[in-house]
């Protein structure tokens, strides 16, 4: 008789309670409205992705005649070959250089600043700094692109990869500081105090205590910034000129201009530029999602 009670079927009562605390909806009753919306949204999201992928594998001649939602009977990689032969590797490397070159300093600087802001909250100077970074969240930084362009010209960095890296760091700082400060704030004060009693400097405390304890947040911020910078379009469009400096999104756009008629090839380019990010997503998904949730919703 007890077996009919849902509670009795669950062996680990504490585990269940744990889960229940996190998710308020009882399992037994279905959330029909949510479920319907959920599956509908899946279709909305998946169909364009699916269509892009299968079309990129079709020969151009087949593209005009075949059913768009049926994969080609004889898939071809010719489109991909065409894209890769049009200097894809160079654009890919440019994107890697810009992304790595901007993300590493952006995260390191933001972490140091976040640490300083949390630990030195009583200093007016640091509070003002925090206010400045927060203001950056409210201001569409795109609006500053004309002076950025002027500064880059004055620094004689126009049409270099460094021209993309420097503003990218600046654009990444507000959100990174915000998220990292949030997590550093969770480190128990006693730990900081005991580090101080042991005679550790702020620098040591920063890297030996705060950094390891907030590693998930650092990873999240790294992934998030990498994504934003990897996908950046406006800065490369405005701050570079020569084909040798193109990053992937810009290359994709120019490629579309060149091969606009060859839709499968254009879509192969879309898939190729997206692939590295999806690989990253596959590895860092859990981290990214949980980090973002924690970073934004408290």
């Amino acid at each position: 008789m007890t077996a009919t009670l849902p509670e009795a079927r669950r062996p680990h009562k504490t585990a269940r309670r744990e889960r229940q605390r996190r998710s308020p909806q009882p399992t037994r009753r279905r959330n029909w409205a949510g479920g319907l919306a959920g599956w509908l949204w899946l279709v909305v999201v998946a169909v364009p992705l699916y269509w892009t992928l299968i079309t990129s594998l079709k020969a151009q001649s087949r593209y005009y005649t075949s059913n768009p939602l049926v994969p080609s009977g004889d898939p071809t990689l010719d489109n991909y070959r065409l894209v890769i032969e049009s200097d894809f590797l160079r654009y890919f490397l440019n994107s890697v250089v810009v992304t790595a070159g901007a993300v590493v300093p952006a995260v390191v600087f933001s972490f140091m600043a976040a640490y300083a802001i949390v630990r030195g909250w009583r200093m007016r100077l640091l509070r003002a700094m925090n206010g400045l970074f927060l203001m950056g969240l409210a201001i569409p930084l795109q609006a500053t692109v004309i002076p950025v362009y002027l500064i880059i010209i004055k620094l004689q960095l126009y049409d270099t990869l460094l021209a993309l890296i420097l503003p990218s760091i600046a654009f990444a700082i507000p959100l990174s500081v915000l998220v990292l400060a949030n997590f550093i704030r969770d480190v128990p004060k006693e730990l900081f105090d005991s580090m101080r009693v042991d005679g550790a400097t702020e620098w040591t405390t920063l890297w030996r205590l705060a950094a390891p304890l907030t590693r998930p947040a650092i990873l999240t911020v790294t992934i998030f910034n990498a994504l934003t910078i990897w996908n950046g379009f406006l800065l490369p469009l405005v701050l570079t000129q020569s084909p040798e400096r193109r990053t992937l999104p810009l290359a994709l756009w120019t490629f579309q201009g060149q091969y606009g008629v060859n839709v499968p090839a254009v879509l192969a380019a879309v898939v190729l530029t997206t692939l590295p990010v999806l690989v990253l997503y596959a590895f860092g998904r859990r981290q990214l999602l949980s980090g973002l949730t924690a970073g934004f919703s408290r």
């Binding site: 308020p24 999201v45 950056g136 409210a138 004309i146 500064i151 879509l267 999602l289 934004f296």
Partner: protein
């Protein structure tokens, strides 16, 4: 710093802190704050983007403010913001609440949902352009006249497509925020409501929604301020067209500055963009009692 208390060595240790913040501050000031001030300054000049910069007083401001293109761009920006907010918010809340449930398949759906956010706006715009092609796109291939309209060639439709694609890209992000928000609602509230005999729908409107208040403000702030920065997507998808139907402020700025070489008027547009962004952030803060930033500072 005079407010510091404690032992002398504590004070000495503390004084290092501003130096730790210095690198971030330097880069941020150099490439965000200085440009922000610079864009105000540039709005009072004439510059073609290459040659010398000349002081020109209010010329650019007068030119922009008397240009019927400005109210139009403002209106389009506002409409994109308002309509995409109105579309994204209910969908995100619904999906977020749904994803917060604990069946395994929901987590799997969540994985797929998130893929669009991984893609660059350029890639999304290019794929949609091909997908929506009236002659060779999805609708034409399926021989569905309803789906094979000239989506990007007619003003109303193009506007709708922009809102749709924006939502396609960003709803996952906001549902994630809502998912986190829902998961933080104490379960005891639902248990109490259940004891009182409240149904699921009643629970949603009486507990979930009010409890999500600050999440809604956070998400809306990000949505609204973010919508001011829709540049790449619209630039690649419609280039502001057909006509000027989807010419939002950010695009207007780019076209005036970098295509028409009128950096003065473009800077005026940029200043307006900044002012609109700040005004909206302040307004939302007023509405919610606190904004995305302030909410993080509570209990600091």
């Amino acid at each position: 710093m005079s407010t510091l208390t404690g032992h002398p060595q504590q004070r000495r240790a503390r004084s290092v802190l501003p130096w730790l913040a210095a690198p971030a501050l330097v880069v941020f000031v150099g490439f965000a704050v200085v440009p922000l001030v610079g864009v105000f300054a540039l709005s009072f000049t004439t510059w073609d983007g290459i040659g010398a910069i000349h002081q020109s007083g209010l010329t650019s401001w007068r030119a922009v403010l008397s240009d019927p293109g400005l109210p139009h761009a403002l209106w389009v920006t506002f409409m994109v913001m308002a309509v995409s907010w109105a579309v994204q918010t209910p969908v995100s809340i619904l999906l977020g609440t749904f994803l917060a449930g604990r069946q395994r398949y929901r987590a799997v759906l969540g994985v797929v949902y998130f893929v669009p956010l991984m893609l660059s706006s350029a890639a999304i715009a290019i794929a949609y352009k091909a997908l929506l092609d009236p002659n060779f796109g999805l609708g034409a291939g399926l021989k569905l006249p309803l789906l094979s309209q000239d989506w990007l060639g007619r003003p109303g439709l193009a506007f709708g497509i922009v809102v749709f694609v924006v939502s396609w890209q960003f709803v996952p992000f906001h549902s994630l925020i809502y998912q986190g928000g829902v998961q933080q609602i104490p379960n005891s509230l639902y248990e109490a409501a259940q004891l009182d005999g409240a149904g699921r729908i009643r629970q949603f409107f009486s507990i979930t929604l009010p409890q999500l208040r600050y999440t809604i403000i956070t998400s809306s702030t990000l949505m609204v301020v973010g919508s001011l920065t829709f540049f790449d997507l619209i630039f690649v998808l419609t280039e502001g067209g057909p006509g000027d139907a989807t010419r939002v402020l950010a695009l207007d700025m780019y076209k005036r500055g970098f295509q028409a070489s009128l950096m003065g008027p473009a800077s005026v547009i940029a200043v307006i963009l900044v002012l609109v962004g700040l005004a909206l952030a302040l307004l939302l803060r007023r509405l919610g009692g606190r904004d995305a930033g302030a909410s993080q500072l509570e209990g600091a």
